[in-house]
C-alpha cells in the first residue's frame, strides 16, 4: 500500500496532547463510561459548565455534511446521481462541487460528509487502483478497492474523519455497488442514498417497484427526480443535478447535468448558446 496511518492529536485546553484511549473511557471520578460517539458527545457536557472560553475544548469542526448522493444498479448498468452543493453551516459554500470522483475508467466514488476527507481518500484509492493496473495488467475490482478503503478507515476511525461514500463500478463480476463510511462499515447493495437529503431521495427511489427492469432513459429520469426532490426539501442540497451511468463498454460517463436554479428550458438555451460559442471559436 502507498499510505500508512498517522498519529491522532487531541486538544485539551487548547494544548495538543497525544491521543490516549483511557481519556475517553473513564470520567474524572474514574468510573468507566459506556462507549460513546466521540464526535460531539463530550463537547456539550463540558461546554455546559461555566468554564472560561480559554478552558473549554474547541468546538467540533463543522464539515460540509449537507448533500444528496444516490446510486442503484439496473439491467442497463449503474446509475449514480448527486447534487453539487457544499454547505458550511447555513452558508452555501459552493454550488459547483464535484461529488463524483473517478477511481478508474469503470469505477467511481461519491462524496458525502467531509469534502476534504472524501476527496483525499478517494484520490488515494485512485492511486492504488492505477498502481494495481500497472502491476497486474488489468483493472482493480470494486470489491478490492472498497475493501482497501474500508480496512484503512477502520484502522483510523479515532481520527474522526467524516466520509460516506459509494464505490460503484463494473468489473468481471458485473455491476458492483458498495457503501463505505468512516467507521469502517462496508456493505454491498443494489440501492443506496447517502447524505442529509438521502431520506427524501429514497422516498422517490422506492416508488419504482420495477427498478431493475427500467430502461436506461427511465433509470436516468428516476435518478434526476430523486435528486431534484431531495434538493427541494433539504436545505443542504442543491446546485446542479449530475447523473452518471456506468456500463461495461464505455465505463463511467456523465449523462445528465442541470442547474436547478434555472428552468429546464432556460438551461437548454444556455447550453446551446455555449456550444455555438465554442463552435465559432
Amino acid at each position: 500500500l502507498l499510505f500508512s496511518p498517522s498519529q491522532a492529536i487531541q486538544y485539551q485546553n487548547n494544548v495538543p496532547t497525544p491521543f490516549s484511549l483511557t481519556a475517553e473511557l473513564f470520567d474524572p471520578e474514574g468510573n468507566s463510561k459506556p462507549w460513546i460517539d466521540i464526535r460531539g458527545g463530550d463537547f456539550e457536557e463540558v461546554a455546559s459548565e461555566n468554564l472560561f472560553p480559554s478552558q473549554r475544548p474547541p468546538p467540533p469542526l463543522e464539515f460540509a455534511h449537507g448533500t444528496t448522493t444516490l446510486s442503484f444498479t439496473f439491467q442497463g448498468g449503474i446509475i449514480v446521481a448527486v447534487d453539487s452543493r457544499a454547505s458550511l453551516g447555513s452558508f452555501v459554500g459552493s454550488k459547483t462541487t464535484q461529488k463524483v470522483l473517478p477511481i478508474n475508467s469503470h469505477m467511481i466514488g461519491t462524496m458525502a460528509g467531509g469534502a476534504a476527507d472524501c476527496q483525499f481518500w478517494i484520490r488515494k484509492i485512485k492511486s492504488e487502483a492505477l498502481l494495481h493496473e500497472v502491476e497486474e495488467g488489468r483493472r482493480m475490482s470494486v470489491a478490492r478497492a472498497s475493501r482497501i478503503l474500508a480496512n484503512y478507515l477502520y484502522s483510523v476511525r479515532q481520527l474522526q474523519l467524516s466520509l460516506g461514500t459509494m464505490i460503484a463500478g463494473w468489473d468481471e463480476k458485473g455491476p458492483q455497488l458498495y457503501y463505505v463510511d468512516n467507521t469502517g462499515l462496508r456493505i454491498q447493495g443494489d440501492l443506496f442514498a447517502v447524505g442529509s437529503g438521502s431520506t427524501f431521495a429514497l422516498g422517490i427511489l422506492d416508488t419504482a417497484t420495477n427498478r431493475y427492469e427500467l430502461s436506461v432513459d427511465e433509470a436516468i429520469a428516476l435518478g434526476i427526480r430523486a435528486i431534484r426532490h431531495a434538493t427541494f426539501r433539504d436545505a443542504y442540497s442543491g446546485g446542479f443535478i449530475n447523473v452518471y451511468l456506468i456500463t461495461p463498454e464505455d465505463g463511467w460517463k456523465r449523462v445528465f447535468q442541470e442547474d436547478i436554479a434555472r428552468t429546464p428550458e432556460a438551461w437548454q438555451a444556455l447550453k446551446q448558446k455555449e456550444e455555438s460559442e465554442l463552435d465559432i471559436n
Binding site: 502507498l2 488515494k124 492511486s127 492504488e128 492505477l130 498502481l131 500497472v134 502491476e135
Partner: protein
C-alpha cells in the same frame, strides 16, 4: 574486498563485478526517435517446455514509461516495483505524470543505496549492488521521447540508441551504423529486431522476443504476438 571499500587504484570492485554480471544477461535494445521509443529484448528460452508468456523482461512502469532489463532479472523486480510506486506517488502529489528523467533518477537512487531507499528502511538494503541494467523508455511533455540507460553503479545516461547484455558489443556497433535521427518508429522497430536477430543464437520468432513501444499519443504498449509477427514479416519481406 568490502562492498563499499575503494581499491588503492580508486575502484569499487563489487560495482564493476556487477557490471560484468550484466554482460552475461540476455540482449536488450532500445532506440529513440522523434515519433517515439522502442524496446526489444531477447527472451532466451532455455527449454521448449517452459511457458514463453511467463518470461517478462519488459515491464510497464506507468502508462507513459516502460523498462527493459538485462542481467539478474529478480533484482530488476525490486527496481521496477520501486519505480512504479514513485510514479504513482508523483501523480498523487503533483497531479501530473512523472518525467522520465526524475523517474530514472529515483531508480538510480535505489541502486546506489543497494535497495535502502529514501525512506531509510534499512531492512531492504542488500549486501551487494543490483546485478541488472535497465533501459527506460518514455515520453513526457518537457523533453519528448527519451531513452535512458541505468546500471548498477547508480549512474544513468541518455542514449539515442543502446544495446545491453550478452550481444551488446556487436549490437551497439550495428546501431551506430544504422541509426538516424530522422528514423520513423516503424524503422526503429525493424532496426531493433534485426539487431537482435543478428546477435541471437536461436532463430528469431514471435515466441522468443519481447517488443514494446512508447508514443506520445498511445503511451506505453507491449506488442502482442500478432504485432510482433507483423514487424518480423516486414523484416523478411
Amino acid at each position: 574486498r568490502g562492498v563499499n571499500t575503494f581499491s588503492p587504484e580508486g575502484r569499487l570492485f563489487q560495482v564493476e563485478y556487477a557490471i560484468e554480471a550484466i554482460k552475461l544477461g540476455s540482449t536488450a535494445v532500445g532506440i529513440q526517435t522523434k515519433e517515439g521509443s522502442v524496446l526489444a529484448v531477447e527472451k532466451r528460452l532455455t527449454s521448449p517446455l517452459l511457458d514463453p508468456a511467463s518470461v517478462e523482461k519488459i515491464a510497464e512502469i506507468d502508462s507513459h514509461i516502460g523498462a527493459a532489463m538485462s542481467g539478474l532479472v529478480a533484482d530488476a523486480k525490486t527496481l521496477v516495483d520501486h519505480a512504479r510506486v514513485e510514479a504513482q506517488n508523483h501523480r498523487f502529489t503533483y497531479d501530473e505524470p512523472i518525467g522520465v528523467e526524475p523517474l530514472t533518477q529515483a531508480v538510480c537512487d535505489l541502486a546506489l543505496s543497494f535497495g535502502e531507499g529514501s525512506d531509510g528502511d534499512s531492512s531492504k538494503r542488500m549486501s551487494r549492488p543490483f546485478g541488472v541494467a535497465l533501459l527506460l523508455a518514455g515520453y513526457d511533455e518537457l523533453e519528448g521521447s527519451q531513452l535512458y540507460f541505468s546500471d548498477p553503479s547508480g549512474t544513468f545516461v541518455r542514449y539515442k540508441a543502446k544495446a545491453i547484455g550478452a550481444g551488446s558489443e556487436g549490437a551497439q556497433s550495428n546501431l551506430e551504423e544504422a541509426y538516424s535521427e530522422t528514423m520513423t518508429l516503424n524503422e526503429a522497430e525493424e532496426l531493433a529486431l534485426s539487431t537482435l536477430k543478428q546477435v541471437m543464437e536461436e532463430k528469431i520468432s514471435t515466441d522468443n522476443i519481447e517488443l514494446a513501444r512508447v508514443t506520445p499519443d498511445k503511451g506505453f504498449h507491449i506488442a502482442t504476438p500478432d504485432e510482433v509477427a507483423t514487424v518480423l514479416e516486414r523484416l523478411s519481406g
